[in-house]
């Protein structure tokens, strides 16, 4: 990746909170990262760290009682104009709907529940294609159902679904988990988006199918040069898929950098702890894996200062007093930890 490229998507200081009866939950609290065109960005973190909410925010799909309370989401549209700030767009407005599905697509977590059980899979994809007809050089007209259906059959073939003509008329519950996820990928790719958000696309399917789906995603990415944000809590999957990694904890970015640096030279204590908890083929057998001490705090009781400090092995006095900012710690690598801050900016 070259640094002179302008990012496709640039998230700056994003904040999302949920107003509940019991209080305000700040699910995303000042997250920033960039996605370059054609880049595969991996986002890792424990469940509840705000990964999914961040992605929902990019698509303006945060549901009540949650809402975006601050920050910018600058997205470069395909027409090549100035980047638009998605956070400023009306969630139900025409421009946002045109981007959704048309330029940014989503592969959801559970392919089982992500399709309506009373409509055929093909029906639901045809609908997406017809919605974004103008992207199919239809000469300004709406694509006919027949044409959209033909496109769907083609897409099914592309994502490796056998007997695509029959499968388009199937209901989602008649397909296996792997096929369902392939159909979902077909739907996401149907309008050739420039950014694909894959929200733990393989957690709900078994391991062998998982490998096939990942391989498929890699192939398609190479073929269409689509940028992908790949969310997972599985570091193994990140290592296979991503070129650049963002590590999140309690709604903040802890560390980010190229995949090799993150895996081989992690800087942030949280990243180090995460990596230690992966079982190794070459390690000693029958020893308890190191775990991260303590538990994820309740969302209402966010610790003050650095969110990780109550569980951090290298905790210092100032960690509970102030929030460390994201600072360069190596070429191409950033971390938000006071271990790497100069004493000068402590105040």
């Amino acid at each position: 990746m070259t640094s002179d490229q302008t990012p496709l998507l640039s998230v700056r200081d994003l904040k999302v909170s949920f107003t509940l009866d019991e209080g305000l939950v700040r699910a995303v609290d000042g997250t920033s990262f960039d996605v370059m065109p054609g880049q595969v960005l991996g986002v890792v973190g424990e469940s509840g760290c705000g990964k999914s909410v961040t992605m929902r925010a990019i698509l303006q799909l945060v549901e009540r009682p949650g809402r975006i309370t601050g920050g910018e989401i600058r997205f470069r549209r395909r027409d090549g104009g100035e980047p638009v700030d998605l956070a400023r767009l009306s969630p139900r407005g025409a421009e946002m709907r045109d981007i959704r599905g048309g330029e940014i697509a989503l592969i959801p977590q559970e392919p089982m529940a992500a399709f309506s059980p009373v409509h055929t899979v093909g029906d639901q994809i045809v609908e997406a294609i017809q919605l974004h007809s103008h992207r199919w050089e239809a000469g300004g007209r709406k694509l006919s159902r027949r044409d959209a259906r033909d496109i769907t059959v083609g897409l099914f073939r592309d994502v490796g679904i056998s007997m695509p003509e029959q499968r388009v008329d199937a209901f989602s519950w008649q397909l296996s988990g792997g096929l369902r996820q392939r159909a979902m990928i077909a739907m996401a790719l149907s309008c050739k988006p420039s950014l694909l958000i894959a929200d733990e696309p393989t957690t709900a399917i078994d391991v062998t199918t998982q490998a096939q789906v990942l391989a498929l995603l890699r192939d398609l990415q190479a073929k269409y040069n689509t940028a992908i944000i790949f969310i997972t809590h599985d570091l193994g999957v990140i290592a296979q898929m991503a070129s650049y990694v963002v590590v999140m904890y309690l709604g903040r970015v802890m560390e980010e950098g190229p995949v090799d640096e993150i895996f081989h030279a992690p800087k942030h204590p949280y990243t180090k702890a995460l990596l230690r908890s992966i079982p190794s083929l070459y390690g000693e057998t029958r020893v308890a894996l190191p775990v991260i001490s303590g538990a994820l705090p309740h969302p209402f009781n966010r610790p003050p200062g650095c969110p990780f400090h109550p569980r951090c092995p290298d905790v210092m006095e100032r960690c509970s007093a102030a929030v460390p900012s994201l600072q360069p710690v190596a070429p191409n690598q950033l971390a938000s930890c006071f271990l790497y801050h100069d004493q000068a900016d402590a105040g």
Binding site: L59, A113, S116, V118
Partner: protein, 328 residues
Amino acid sequence: MTRYILQRLALLPLLMVIYSFVIFAIIQAPPGDFLTAYVATLSSSGSSISTEQIAALRAQYGLDQPMAIQYVRWMQNLFHGDFGLSLEYQRPNADLIGEQLGLTVALALFSFVLTWVIAVPAGIYSATHPRSLGDHVLTVINYVGVATPNFMLALILMWIAFAYFDISVTGLYSPEFVDAPWSFARVWDLMGHIWLPALVLGIAGTARLSRIMRANLLDELNKPYVVTARAKGMKEWRLVLRYPVRLAFNPLVSTIGWYLPALFSGSLIVATVMNLPNIGPLLLRSLINQDMYLAGGILLIYSFLTIVGTLMSDVLLALIDPRIRVEK
């Protein structure tokens, strides 16, 4: 699918036989028979009837035969479409019932349509605007609607109309059309009158139905497929109508199974209070006068309508829900 419907249809006669058994037992249960009641009325009005005459009448109507024989004779006649002779009216029961049946079914169906036309949009509005003012208002109306017995609502409406507007809202026709032959004008007049009793009859059902719709839709709106549809870039209202509403609808269809029968039997009370042409008041009268074959015939008709209603709802559910359709 066809097999499933055929199976259900095959079960229908069996159910009817069971019902006829139960109904016969019930109409036979009161001590004495029509003639004892008849004699009592006569003697209270001063006239008398000789024991021989009574015995002759008893023999004529077969009331002196053992239970089992009476039942078999009843069933034999029913099989030939003969509902027997009304002891009180001295007319064939089939005629008496036939005169009222059409309007009874019409009232129930009309009320059913009205219920759905009101309840479904109300439920959708409430679910898509939870905790809004409109939602709260609808909730209050729903609670009061469920809590008001429909004869009570009929009374209140009739009272207000009479006491404050000096109009009568009873009956299904304006006076000039009551005995008129069927004509376009009469149908038009009927449509002008039927909506109020239909609304009264359906109010509790409407309230219940819109609560169910609201709860179902709220559940469905949180399902992942809604997010998928939004991520496609669909317009919100189109999306809501096409996906979650469609799914929230299915459990609603399964309520037809009990709701249609409830309307048939509920119309009995409303019809009695509002003086409507309906088999309900006829049943009430026949029960009080122990006109047993008339009562039995009407009860059988009610049971038949009930079974058909349930059957229709099951078939409809199978038709609109592919998950059930494929299984069957």
